[in-house]
Symmetry: C2
Subunit: 311 residues, 2 copies
């Protein structure tokens, strides 16, 4: 009948050797055994990785609540925000993801995943967050196609081309699949915009033996992340703007190589220094240059993609 005493007697906890500093764990004001009890409640059949994740999550969430002396009303406001995010999410919108993005979490787990996969000896293309607007099922297109099905008058057409190479040998990689997507000049991806055609500004390409790829697209423009939901409310309460710098999304896949999910950023764009989702990396900033003698595009971008072989 005294749960505290009971659980205390079966310490030590399952913290798996994490460094959890005592000063944060217990500020002395609140039941010092509570977090331990919650962690100790994890049963023996839990997978080791899930135990590791939940032990750290419970410790940090509790420390956060104690540090800020979070009240029931403040917590309930947070619960409402999270429920609202789920209710807004559909196959065309992932608001839970966007909430994470505006506090930098997707960018951080991207860095962690990339670093975990990286080996020291060769430089592959850096990763960047997937973002909430990726869609499965983008149609395969022929090299040199235009992914812009209905180019708006204010768009600047661009010819983008380059090679997919092996990060170790620098040799071309054939059969690499490149999935590309970008927003239109009104700041909307096609699934957000009833006026754009299905899969507009999306395309999938497969390299041949030369590793080369090419397509026409439009120069990307900055746009705000959707701010009519909880992520927008958080941004507003944080006195931050919702804008992202101009970028093109890429996923590059090839059997035998580590997949790359990335974004490339226009060097001349606004918001490179204050991206609302913290995704910019210097190595991903690219420069569009004038293109000569092509009636389809006055700008071009030469961008090579280096894939790291699986170990």
């Amino acid at each position: 009948m005294d749960p505290v005493a009971r659980v205390d007697s079966k310490m030590p906890s399952h913290t798996n050797g994490f460094h959890v500093p005592d000063a944060v764990k217990d500020n002395g004001k609140y039941d010092p055994t509570f977090t331990k009890r919650v962690i100790e409640a994890i049963g023996p059949k839990t997978s080791p990785r899930f135990r590791e994740i939940m032990t750290s999550l419970i410790q940090h969430v509790h420390d956060f609540a104690r540090e800020t002396e979070l009240t029931v009303d403040e917590w309930a406001a947070g619960v409402n925000l999270i429920n609202w995010a789920g209710q807004m999410s559909t196959d065309r919108r992932n608001e839970g993801q966007l909430l994470c993005d505006v506090i930098g979490l997707e960018s951080l787990v991207d860095e962690i995943t990339y670093k975990k996969a990286a080996e020291a000896d060769d430089v592959a293309t850096q990763s960047a967050i997937l973002g909430p607007f990726f869609r499965l099922g983008t149609p395969q297109m022929k090299m040199g196609s235009n992914i812009s099905q209905d180019t708006p008058a204010d768009a600047q057409p661009v010819y983008m081309f380059g090679r997919v190479v092996d990060a170790k040998t620098q040799k071309p990689v054939c059969d690499a699949e490149i999935d590309v997507w970008e927003a239109s000049t009104n700041g909307l991806y096609e699934q957000q915009d009833p006026d754009q055609k299905e899969f507009n500004l999306r395309g999938k390409f497969k390299t041949g033996p030369d590793g080369e790829y090419s397509f026409y697209c439009i120069r990307p423009t900055p746009y705000p992340v959707p701010d009519d939901g909880p992520a927008g409310q958080v941004l507003q309460m944080l006195d931050r703007h919702p804008y992202r710098p101009a970028h093109i999304h890429l996923i590059v896949l090839r059997e035998g190589y580590k997949p790359v999910t990335t974004q490339i950023f226009d060097a001349e764009s606004k918001y490179l220094e204050d991206d609302s989702v913290f995704a910019v990396k210097d190595s991903l900033v690219v420069t569009f240059v004038p293109r000569e003698g092509d009636p389809q595009a006055k700008l071009e971008l030469n961008y090579d993609i280096a894939l790291k072989p699986n170990a």
Copy 2:
């Protein structure tokens, strides 16, 4: 164009003097300026309290991700879980709240809120979590009414009575409003159960000058929290059962006094030591005793409620 350098130059950060140990903040492997940059992005017009909360939240969420080396796939699974919680939530079910409950967060913010409100010199009734099954609009009833509209055959009727008193003076408090609710013997609250009548096992009572209250109810029974959603999935993955010990919920409100939200637990119930939402406190454990000469109930519970005056 180098956001890291730019933000670094305008340190120090807005951590508001929280103790954020360096060993956790930066394990040396990942960009040591990243979390600072996200926190520094908070604008000057943010309310001081929201800045305090979000600074701590961002720091802890990032530390959690770095400590566990959370991958993109693991993070995405968490986002799906949170979106799912929102999608399941309705006016009859709050799954975001339940997710917090199973990791002890509601119980912790309840403790924090209660401690913040507490003064040292008088002992008010302790609080416990609201839980996800409270409903507004419970009808007012006369003292001595039965809140069980259709008592199941396996239920044990109980006469519950007592006084609402001032925690300082021990004098009766009149015009105190008592809102009570409990699950039926099948483990379901009326809004979860199409077979129960609207507002079954709920009642609202107002004390007179004697501060006394009384009603008939049923002896509560243990039940599992709903485990068909993300909270249930987390419990299962944590190798934990979903059961709560038998309890009756109470909210007691009176102008001039601090509100009390609490639960009282049957001393003979299972799960007192391993409540799935960590809400049991020793002072809230009560004993049902035999009742003589009452055809309506063979058990009774005498329970006084002490309200703390507003400062």
